[in-house]
């Protein structure tokens, strides 16, 4: 019995992580109609960046060693040393690292949207191929920089340990992850449904030409949404890294999970992403405990059922 309760806590915290991952995917896919196959890469890149910031802090400068050899001839080979400006001391606060990781990836996302995806507006197939191609590039860069060994940052010290409740131990860090996910869910809901910016975003999605005519800068809004989604995924990656650890292939593992959450919950629906995340969180943890061989397959069953019975997803609207 107690084993199942512990599993339930793990499921809820995994669900919280999945929400951070899939909320951005749902926004980008639901609002901008961009099938962003880089989303797993954003998650992994954020996790790697966060792990490095946590270990080494953040500094500008250092020693560089440009070296180029071509056809056996050394073209240049010298060492440059620049004084290092320490922006952040090693072992900073965990949330600071997560926010910096998220912000860096958000900037990368904004650049990709502005300079590559913008040219392909409305063409879904090229968008898919472009993001898929970029995801391979990101995966290879991560492999080059962080090598193939898994990285697992330590659980932040202020959240280490567990609380005891009715004779059971619950790890504090997992509870913190759930709380962060809930706070972000509420913030996103307030942003989209109750602010002027949210109203402008919804207007831009519903009818971009009319929204442009009344003076809404739709292109800038779309860049903002894409950056927000990328940043959220990366933030989730940093939050998840002490639980999941970071390793090559994490991107390809997380992308389909984000996809099933969004298919399950309905595209563009934040509530759908939240409910879908928790359903998948429970299925994954119980599946792993009960049928370890088939855990990954069980994840996809609810997607199949939803597709057959309710193709628009649990909370999705029927697109005419």
């Amino acid at each position: 019995m107690s084993q199942y309760l512990t599993l339930a806590v793990n499921s809820i915290s995994y669900g919280g992580l999945l929400f951070l991952l899939s909320a951005g995917f749902s926004l980008i896919f639901g609002l901008m109609r961009i099938p962003n196959l880089m989303h797993g890469s954003f998650f992994m890149l954020g996790a790697y960046l966060g792990a490095s910031i946590l270990e080494k802090g953040l500094g500008l400068g250092g020693t560089f060693h440009p070296h180029l050899q071509m056809l056996g001839v050394t073209l240049f080979d010298f060492t440059v040393s620049l004084p290092t400006i320490v922006v952040l001391a090693p072992h900073p606060n965990f949330f600071v690292a997560a926010l910096i990781g998220g912000a860096v990836v958000a900037c990368i996302g904004a650049l990709i949207e502005r300079f590559l995806l913008r040219r392909l507006a409305g063409q879904e197939l090229p968008q898919v191929l472009l993001t898929l191609g970029l995801s391979f590039v990101v995966a290879d860069i991560c492999l080059m920089v962080w090598t193939g060994d898994p990285v697992q940052p330590a659980t932040p010290s202020q959240f280490a340990g567990a609380v005891q409740f009715t004779g059971l131990f619950f790890p504090i860090y997992r509870l913190v992850v759930v709380m962060v996910a809930v706070v972000i869910a509420i913030a996103l809901w307030l942003l989209i449904d109750w602010t002027r910016l949210g109203a402008m975003i919804r207007a831009g999605v519903d009818d971009a030409p009319i929204a442009r005519m009344i003076g809404i800068k739709v292109s800038q809004l779309f860049t903002l949404i894409f950056a927000l989604g990328a940043g959220l995924a990366a933030f989730g990656g940093v939050m998840g890294s002490p639980i999941l650890s970071v390793y090559p292939g994490l991107d390809a593992e997380m992308l389909p999970v984000a996809l099933i959450v969004v298919i399950l919950g309905g595209t563009g629906s934040l509530l759908g992403a939240l409910v879908g995340s928790f359903i998948i969180g429970f299925l994954y943890n119980y599946g792993q405990a009960l049928f370890p061989d088939l855990a990954y397959v069980i994840l996809f069953l609810p997607m199949v059922v939803v597709l057959v019975l309710r193709p628009q997803g649990l909370f999705g609207k029927v697109v005419p």
Binding site: L116, R119, I263, V297
Partner: protein
């Protein structure tokens, strides 16, 4: 008259060149690359049925490819004969394709792509995690190639001819398919699904049958693959394999017969050449994707023609301005 005759002559020359390839290409390495090109061309042609003629972009074909390979490899391991294993593999891949199609055809466009991606990942998950069935990451060894009509396919050249035979049958099947009324109706569902529906065609059924046809040839390619490598591992089912197949179709030019073959040749040669000099094949693959999408969205064959024309016109009007475009096209 001339166009048809030129076309027939070109096909005859191509077949003659392929038949005599082992005579003028020396070295097992190059003959093996030719076999690889042909087996991946079968996969690319199969995927092109959906991507090019059906307008349905699948990112799950590596799953079907792996299902055929794994079925045959596991049956061979358990002592079944080659014929039984191959027939069973093709049967299983048809059933799997039917399941894929029923689920994925709930949607078209981007929804179709996402569902096939997820289904392909399920196959990968089974291949990788269900170690009791598939030996997980260790993969399955295939002991020996079949001996059709008593001819041993162990060395490179006989295997090349066996692959060539299958490849030619596949090309002939694709030609018949494209020119048949069914092929025309599939193109109709791609371009004007609603009108086809109004005309009384069962759009869903047409797409379903096309999916089965595509799945069947994907399975054939999967069988060739395991006999070529004598090994199958979860890597075959990974998303990257589906993406490579899609790159073959799109880089060559979709909805043509020659495009996927050229694309398969480009990707296989690139992969072998690039990985000989560079260990970063994944990055090269990604960058090629991005470059093709950005500069030649219609595929390399038509794209080069377009950029070549552009460069030629630019050359005639303003010689200096033509230089960058000309470089890109070459």
């Amino acid at each position: 008259m001339t166009a048809i005759m030129v076309r027939r002559a070109a096909i005859a020359v191509a077949i003659l060149l392929l038949l005599t390839l082992p005579l003028w290409v020396s070295g097992t390495y190059y003959i093996n690359i030719a076999s690889q090109i042909q087996l991946f061309a079968v996969l690319a042609l199969a995927l092109n049925v959906l991507v090019g003629y059906g307008g349905l972009v699948s990112l799950g074909h590596a799953g079907l490819f792996a299902i055929a390979g794994y079925t045959a490899a596991l049956m061979l391991e358990n002592g079944f004969g080659h014929l039984a294993a191959n027939l069973a593999a093709l049967g299983v891949v048809l059933v799997a394709a039917a399941v894929f199609a029923v689920l994925a055809l709930r949607a078209t466009g981007i929804g179709f792509l996402m569902i096939t991606l997820a289904l392909g990942q399920i196959v990968w998950g089974i291949a990788y995690r269900w170690a009791g069935l598939t030996h997980g990451d260790n993969g399955v060894n295939v002991s020996g190639r079949p001996m059709p009509f008593g001819i041993s396919l162990t060395s490179a050249t006989p295997f090349y001819f066996a692959t060539l035979a299958v490849f030619l049958v596949a090309v002939a099947a694709m030609m018949l398919f494209v020119r048949s009324p069914f092929g025309a109706s599939l193109r109709g569902t791609r371009d004007q699904a609603r009108r086809m529906n109004a005309l009384g065609y069962n759009v869903w059924l047409i797409r379903f049958v096309a999916f089965l046809f595509s799945g069947f040839w994907t399975g054939v390619a999967g069988l060739l693959f395991i006999y070529y490598n004598e090994f199958v591992s979860p890597q075959v089912a990974a998303l990257q394999s589906s993406a490579e197949a899609l790159l073959m179709v799109i880089s060559g030019g979709t909805a043509t017969l020659l495009g996927p073959i050229v694309g398969a040749a480009i990707v296989v040669v690139m992969k072998n050449v690039v990985s000989a000099y560079l260990e970063r094949w994944n990055m090269a693959l990604g960058i090629i994707f991005v470059l093709i999408i950005t500069f030649m969205p219609e595929g390399l064959v038509p794209g080069s023609v377009r950029l070549g024309k552009l460069a030629w016109q630019g050359w005639r009007k303003r010689p200096p301005a033509a230089a960058p475009a000309g470089e890109r096209a070459s």
